[in-house]
Symmetry: C2
Subunit: 175 residues, 2 copies
């Protein structure tokens, strides 16, 4: 765990953790459920990525960062290199549980992910999300964090539910 | 195998096969290698998808169609439903070996895939490809087959090597 208590918002922030253990299956499920945004099938996929990581280690291509507050995991991000690319990464998830939102934790997780990716030689981070209304706050958040909307795939998830793709270069100074 | 000898180009066309057996690992590798377009790492992924299919069956999410000419597999397509979507499919590969090109086999494979997807309730087929020059003929081919370029992700594969995304609705009559 990285001690990291300099949150300028004044909230007590206790750190990040990048190791992954089996109890994190429940942690991930609880965080995703608490947001109220994700379908059950999406939560299942979130846990599946953690299972892949537990089974195969870093070679799974799935990396996790957990945000800890008062000794409890209140948010996490999952990212990894995109196969067959040189330096492109996907941010698969960034989620903070309901009670810990509005404290800058998601931004902090995102910054940590971007830093890890840049350190690993990554060039670009991609985020794919839905055009549905429950994701409007997420899309605004990605824009505030310097992500640019680079594509919209109409009706990708379902009729009327587009895929929106955001991208940010991380070999440039972070915003 | 589906007998199918009505190719209007006048070439003898012997059929399609959708079953998958272990010797198809070599078939897939040979076809991809013969095109001269793919990196070794891409060929490895092509074979990996076949391995997934052999290991898990249709629930792998990878479906194959082989084109047979004179008793030999000369081309194939691989496609599957995109997880977390309702009716979106990816065409992962369509490839015809060098000696059998220019006979309409790729188009026939693509049509077979679109028909299978439509029958399975699919709505949209996506094809992702590279902006590099060796893929120019493939991109022109997709356009001729009714695919529309819906997105370009700059520098996705590598600096100067964009991802180009094509899409086609298959619940409409095929073109």
């Amino acid at each position: 765990m990285t001690p990291d208590n300099d949150d300028s918002s004044g909230n007590v922030y206790h750190g990040l953790r990048e190791t992954v253990t089996p109890p994190d299956r429940q942690v991930v499920a609880d965080i995703l459920l608490s947001t109220g945004v994700f379908f059950d099938s999406e939560i299942a996929i979130g846990v599946e990525l953690l299972d892949e990581r537990l089974a195969k280690g870093p070679s799974s291509g799935y990396h996790f960062v957990f945000a800890i507050q008062d000794g409890r995991e209140v948010g996490y991000a999952c990212y990894g290199p995109i196969p067959l690319t040189r330096g492109s990464y996907d941010l698969y998830w960034v989620a903070v549980c309901k009670e810990a939102q509005q404290q800058g934790l998601a931004r902090r997780l995102l910054r940590a992910v971007e830093q890890r990716i840049a350190e690993a030689g990554g060039r670009i981070v991609y985020i794919e999300t839905s055009s549905r209304t429950p994701y409007a706050a997420a899309r605004a958040f990605y824009r505030r964090c310097g992500y640019e909307q680079v594509a919209v795939l109409r009706d990708f998830y379902a009729p009327g539910d587009d895929k929106v793709i955001f991208a940010k270069g991380v070999d440039r100074p972070a915003t």
